[in-house]
């Protein structure tokens, strides 16, 4: 059936928490009242991105972008825009309020500077409809691979594309696939999608799965074909209720259409996917701990080597890729490696999806070419820092990354450039912090996170995260000495190299990174016994009183 107009109601987790399901129902209720139900279709989409001003509603074909829509606004959109063809101006994006309202979404700065490859369907299709995915070219890549490419050619294409793991480590995906493809084939191999997105401030995998679950499934099937695996698992956080629901539906639909299961598209290739729920431990995002958990054990990292491509899940060769990595795969196969290389940088082609949060005007989900600078992200897409405050730092890569101070605003955002400055691109968190915050207070929240999330298996992490946090607490209370700082540095040096897995090895990174760029602010606490931002309880008496009566955090 053909429609005159489509109303896309964002139903990602952020908008749905702000009543987007009710908005959608209201549209469905009111359209027949105006006799429009045969002419206008309401589509529930995944995250469209500009979460700060959700719920968002986009009306096609024109692309009119309504933000901050309430249930009570729906009648006006229906009666004015859909019935009479008059845009409801008061609901257009207008930030700051003095600015000129923007009518269509491609003209909103937030969208104008983005390049959407992974998010190509997010916000545009009903993620619960496999037909809509297929209509936008979905499963073309799988069809192409199964009918016109050998598994080795698929591996080669991914290698040639230069795609690197989007979970944070940036390992070349094609190389990983090649290892798995060449590994012992005497038994089963597995493809695992790592959807245990645990970095604080990161929720891009969640929104990708909510918005376009089939892209990830197609990527998994392609990985399976490339390496000779017939079973895939999505290990996903149990809290991601909506992602799980949509993924389950997507798997069922794909099976029904013969796009998963036995003899896919009549090619003789079998591949199926099951979902496994995580229970929320941060360390289970580490691939070997994830395997332990997936197998039913305690989530603790394994010793490497052997690497997953030799002995991963159930001791068998396993490709484990992040959600975003897998969502890139179908486009690369469909459009080719050389196309992919036109995006991003030489060493890191492609795009990166970030969740832009914190002290920023336009918080939300964004996708940008690799190599873009933080300045461009903050000021062109993000709309700058609100409330007239100054940019102080950005935390990239979640708690495991370093920080980016104002000095580094023009460093290209890619794995190697950020690593060279002691930071990390990470999994896709981009937490913007303004100058109202105290660096010690910020760092203390990082140290607490690691104390809370250490699995407890190895000594330096289990004991070291406690010591780091206690030192941070002392600094914050104005009780620390220079010896504490020396001990913190020595401990950090040991922790970079001694722990068993990356969790412990990166635990000191945010502290050392903040110390490096904001040493004077640390010293103000330690030597001057003052908190320049006025956040920390540096006053000794107050601190002692607080320590005496307040429950300790751990």
């Amino acid at each position: 059936m053909l429609y005159r107009a489509h109303v896309l109601v964002c139903n990602g987790t952020n908008c749905s928490l702000k009543a987007s399901p009710e908005i959608q129902k209201e549209f469905s209720r009111l359209l027949p009242e105006y006799g429009l139900d045969k002419e206008v279709k309401v589509v529930e989409t995944g995250c469209f991105g500009l979460c700060e001003y959700g719920p968002t509603v986009v009306v096609f074909p024109d692309g009119t972008f309504y933000s901050g829509v309430k249930v009570s606004d729906v009648r006006e959109i229906v009666s004015e825009h859909l019935y009479k063809g008059r845009v409801v101006k008061r609901l257009l994006y207008q930030v700051p309020p003095a600015a000129k309202p923007v009518q269509v979404y491609p003209e909103v700065d937030y969208f104008r500077h983005q390049v959407r490859v992974v998010l190509r369907n997010c916000g545009f299709i009903d993620p619960e409809s496999i037909e809509e995915y297929i209509a936008r070219g979905g499963y073309q890549a799988l069809g192409k691979a199964l009918t016109a490419m050998t598994p080795a050619q698929v591996v080669e294409e991914i290698k040639a594309s230069g795609l690197r793991g989007r979970g944070g480590a940036g390992f070349p995906t094609g190389l990983k696939w090649q290892f798995a493809a060449r590994a012992d084939g005497s038994g089963p191999k597995y493809v695992v999608c790592n959807a245990d997105e645990g970095e604080p401030g990161t929720f891009k995998d969640r929104l990708i799965l909510e918005g376009d679950p089939h892209a990830v499934l197609e990527g998994m099937a392609l990985a399976g074909y490339a390496v000779g695996a017939h079973q895939g698992y999505v290990y996903i956080r149990g809290e991601y209720v909506l992602s799980i629901e949509r993924l389950e539906r997507a798997i069922a639909q794909a099976r029904e259409m013969g796009l998963l299961g036995k003899n896919i598209l009549g090619s003789g290739f079998d591949f199926d996917v099951e979902i496994r729920l995580g229970a929320g431990a941060y360390v289970c995002g580490e691939e070997t701990a994830l395997f332990e958990s997936l197998e039913g054990g305690r989530g603790e990292p394994r010793i490497k080597p052997p690497y997953p491509t030799d002995a991963g899940l159930f001791g068998r060769p396993t490709v484990i890729n992040n959600v975003e990595t897998l969502a890139n795969v179908p486009v690369i196969i469909e459009r080719g490696a050389s196309w992919f290389r036109t995006l991003g940088t030489q060493k890191t082609p492609g795009t990166k999806v970030f969740t832009l949060t914190g002290d920023i005007v336009n918080a939300g989900l964004i996708e940008v070419p690799m190599g873009i600078t933080l300045r461009e992200i903050i000021y062109n897409i993000g709309g700058g820092i609100p409330n007239g405050r100054q940019f102080k730092l950005a935390q990239t890569g979640g708690t495991s990354g370093g920080v980016i101070p104002p000095e580094l605003l023009d460093v290209p955002m890619d794995y190697d450039s950020l690593a060279a400055h002691g930071s990390a691109l990470g999994s896709g968190a981009l937490l913007i912090i303004d100058d109202s915050h105290c660096i010690v207070d910020v760092a203390k929240s990082f140290s607490f996170f690691f104390l809370h999330e250490s699995c407890g298996k190895c000594t330096p992490c289990r004991e070291g995260t406690l010591q780091l946090h206690r030192i941070m607490e002392r600094i914050s209370r104005g009780e620390a000495t220079r010896t504490d700082l020396e001990n913190m540095k020595a401990l950090a040096q040991a922790m970079y190299v001694a722990p068993l897995c990356p969790l412990g090895q990166t635990a000191p990174l945010p502290l050392m990174s903040t110390f490096r760029w904001f040493e004077s602010e640390y010293l103000a606490h330690v030597v001057g016994k003052t908190c320049p931002a006025g956040v920390c309880p540096v006053d000794g008496t107050a601190a002692r009183a607080a320590a005496g009566c307040a429950a300790r955090e751990v």
Binding site: A281, R298, E300, I303, P305, L451, H452, E453, S454, C455, G456, K457, C458, T459, P460, R462, E463, G464, T465, L466, Q467, R470, N487, A490, L491, Q493, A494, Y496, V497, A498, P499, L500, Q505, V554
Partner: protein, 577 residues
């Protein structure tokens, strides 16, 4: 095996492919300190004490789990390595009670030794310590988590060797604690009390429940007649508590030492081991001839008993109904012996010296009171005895060799070999052969059931009747045997199970360290004891003959059943919450 050449600390070292860097270094005479590592049992790279620097690797690597590779360049002692190691051990110490002087492992603690060898003189880090109150719920084993370094050797031995899995890591991060599921008390868990965890624990976090104070009190009580029995395996191990080499036979010195402590009579569990052979042997013959439940399985090892009660309750009818030699001794001490010496059994205090922590649990089983009194009043492990002797100032080396007291100190070599895996089987076969065939056994040594192999099968010809037997030690092997029997119940006639590796000589109450090398030496010593005994068959024990004449009547008589046999109870495998 293919060889690889690597460089360790600047020296070319040859190693076999598949070896770890730790193994290669040790072969080359380079010592890398370890803590969580335990040969053949635990290599998990958790403590990070054994870290080394490897050329090309960003982080330090745990040498216990790092495979050697051709051309690898390793530094075990660089500045970075030493700094990391010191920091790691300081961190462990920052979270460890500083009560070495009063710790049960003072002097045998591996953390103490590590800190000493690394020359740690101060701890830069301070803060709260994990742990809490020790779990003393079990009569056998105390868990003092405050002293736990989370090396997980206990978890490994419980799971991999014993297949019990009573304990594991609970909680996470700094809160991580080795405990039964749901952090229940050990007494409410599937723990079988074997105490193997206490042998592998590097610190005082897991140790035997110390009952020495009970014994000191009884010895000091003039109203008590205190008798002691010594288990077969203790005579080849207690010397190690005084620095004697493993495999030293110290039977006479141990008897003398016990007299110095003030025991009124020093008796021998070997005597009731002989008695067990008679009772169990007749029970087996009876089952064979009368179509009883087969295979019959030995019942001397209390860790094993709780294991089968918990994990194979359907197979309890296969167990011999015989009490263990320890309990038989107690039952006789408070009846036959009490009557003989004219002492009110209420005034007799029976102490056992055992290689075993599970014996403490066994002694407290409510059914072990057939005489109207508890069979056993206190159980001491070899380690507790060693410590009591030190406290009493006994110079063990200088003691003369003294004989056991009559009458419950008379035994044969068959009783002695109860202390090693295969020993109960061999002792039983020596007697069964002669009882069934009426002929003299041509060769006493049944080599096929001896030694450290985990499961040993044999077929014995009893004058035309084939007796199929199997011997298993460790509960992991016991599990395998029972699973095989479930599939094929006719596979064996008679099964010997000992819970601990190597049998009682490797028991959970034995001196630390107890390694496979040491176990082998203790086993050799046990067979030397047997070889040097004038009598080597239980049915030749003259006191046993008198015992039946004067008191029990005949084997498996009503009285024997009343005092020397018992029954078992199914137990829950999962916590009853």
């Amino acid at each position: 095996m293919a060889k690889v050449t690597l460089t360790i600390d600047g020296r070319k070292v040859e190693a076999e492919r598949g070896m770890t860097v730790l193994e290669a270094a040790r072969l080359a005479g380079i010592n890398i300190p370890t803590l969580c590592y335990l040969e053949n049992l635990n290599a998990i790279g958790a403590c990070r004490v054994c870290v080394v620097e490897v050329k090309g690797a960003k982080a330090l690597q745990a040498s216990c789990v790092l495979p050697v590779a051709e051309g690898m360049e390793v530094w075990t002692n660089s500045r970075a390595v030493r700094a990391s190691r010191r920091t790691t051990v300081e961190l462990l110490l920052s979270d460890h009670p500083t009560e070495c002087t009063t710790c049960i492992r003072n002097g045998t603690c591996e953390l103490q030794a590590l800190a000493e060898s690394l020359g740690i003189r101060r701890v830069r880090f301070e803060g709260e310590k994990h742990g809490g109150v020790p779990d003393e719920s079990s009569p056998s084993i105390v868990r003092d988590n405050a002293k736990c370094v989370l090396c997980r050797r206990c978890v490994a031995v419980c799971e991999k060797v014993q297949s019990v899995k009573a304990i594991g890591p609970q909680e996470r991060g700094f809160e991580t604690a080795i405990a039964p599921p749901f952090e229940l008390p050990l007494a409410d868990s599937v723990c079988v009390n074997c105490g193997q965890c206490t042998l592998v624990c590097p610190t005082g976090a897991l140790h035997e429940h110390d009952d020495s104070e009970l014994v000191w009190a009884a010895l000091a009580d003039p109203g008590k007649h205190v008798v002691v029995q010594t288990a077969p395996a203790t005579r080849v191990t207690v010397g190690e508590m005084f620095g004697m080499p493993p495999g030293s036979v110290v039977t006479g010195k141990m008897v003398a030492a016990l007299r110095r402590l003030g025991f009124d009579r020093v008796f021998d569990t070997d005597f009731t081991a002989d008695l067990t052979i008679i009772e169990e042997g007749y029970e087996l013959v009876h089952r064979l001839q009368e179509g009883g439940v087969l295979p019959m399985i030995t019942s001397c090892s209390p860790g094993w008993i709780k294991f089968i009660e918990t994990f194979f309750p359907d197979m309890l009818p296969n167990l011999s109904t015989c009490k263990s030699p320890q309990q038989m001794f107690g039952a006789l001490a408070k009846t036959y012996y009490a009557r003989k010496v004219g002492i009110d059994p209420a005034d007799i205090f029976v102490v056992s010296i055992m290689p075993c922590t599970a014996k403490k649990f066994e002694a407290r089983r409510p059914e072990m009171t057939d005489s109207g009194y508890p069979d056993i009043d206190a159980v001491l492990t070899t380690r507790e005895l060693g410590r009591m002797l030190k406290e009493a100032g006994v110079v063990f080396d200088a003691l003369p060799e003294e004989p056991y007291d009559d009458p419950l100190g008379v035994s044969t070599g068959a009783g002695a070999i109860f202390g090693a895996t295969g020993g109960v089987m061999e002792a039983a076969l020596r007697t069964a052969y002669e009882v069934v065939t009426g002929k003299t056994l041509p060769a006493l040594d049944f080599q096929s059931v001896r030694g450290m192999e985990g499961i040993k099968e044999a077929t014995v010809n009893l004058d035309g009747t084939e007796l199929r037997v199997v011997v298993a030690h460790t509960l992991g092997n016991a599990r395998k045997v029972l699973e095989a029997v479930r599939v094929d119940p006719g596979r064996y006639h008679f099964i010997e199970i000992m819970a601990c590796p190597g049998g009682c000589i490797g028991g959970g109450g034995q001196p630390i360290p107890t390694t496979d090398e040491i176990r082998k030496k203790r086993i050799e010593a046990i067979y030397r004891v047997d070889r040097d005994m004038p009598l080597r068959k239980s049915h030749d024990n003259p006191v046993i003959k008198v015992l039946y004449q004067e008191f029990l009547g005949e084997p498996n008589s009503h009285k024997a059943h009343e005092l020397l046999h018992t029954h078992y109870q199914p137990r829950y495998q999962y916590a009853q919450l």
